[in-house]
């Protein structure tokens, strides 16, 4: 699907949190995961800026590990604050989707 960017903007941070929450991972793998899910427009630069934000907000734990080739990679894992933020994200998501579904069905 094209032109999802605007709609995705507010939720991408939550998506990245969820991906990091399921396993410790790095930028490139997160981008690939989002692409596989069908978010083809998401490039690594987008994920990079989100990761920077998460790091600044103190929601992730960062570890540098050497890679087989090239410079060391940054791996990300959720800390307690991150897990809290992720739970909040899903609560908000439930709220929004339930309201929008209601709207679509014409209910009140």
């Amino acid at each position: 699907m094209d032109d999802l960017t605007e709609m995705l903007k507010g939720t991408l941070e939550g998506c990245v949190l969820e991906i990091i929450g399921s396993e410790e991972t790095y930028g490139y793998a997160i981008t690939r995961r989002l692409n596989e899910l069908g978010f083809a427009d998401v490039v690594e630069g987008t994920v990079y800026t989100i990761l920077l934000r998460l790091e600044k907000k103190g929601l992730v734990q960062v570890m540098k590990r050497p890679s087989e080739q090239g410079p060391p990679r940054k791996f990300y894992a959720l800390n307690d604050a991150g897990r809290g933020e992720l739970a909040t994200f899903w609560a908000k998501w439930e709220y929004i989707t339930s309201r929008i579904d209601k709207l679509k069905e014409g209910g009140r």
Partner: protein
Amino acid sequence: MNFWEAITGSDLTRDFKAFEVRAAALPADHRAAWEQVKGGLFLYGDFTGRNLMPILDGVLGLLEETAADGQSIDEVLGDDIAGFCAALAGGSGARNFRDRWREQLNRNVARKLSRLGG
């Protein structure tokens, strides 16, 4: 940063040289993107540009990592480099020229108003 560096900006020159050495090792399209990112970030620099140094260091790291993976620059930055720079600078809390102009304007207006209100 010591006093000498603060006055002469010699630390900036040194850092910048180090950046360019690293950038020179990148493949051509990544190097072109580096030039564009530098241009794009310039807008968000403070008076000396010192606030940009850690940001530039991070971007260079991203470019190096992705180049080592053999990713194309399109996979890394897409077509919105200006947006990437804005997100970067915003995320790092860099204040830019426009913020300062806005502050100055607000101050001037406030002064004029208080004079009128007397």
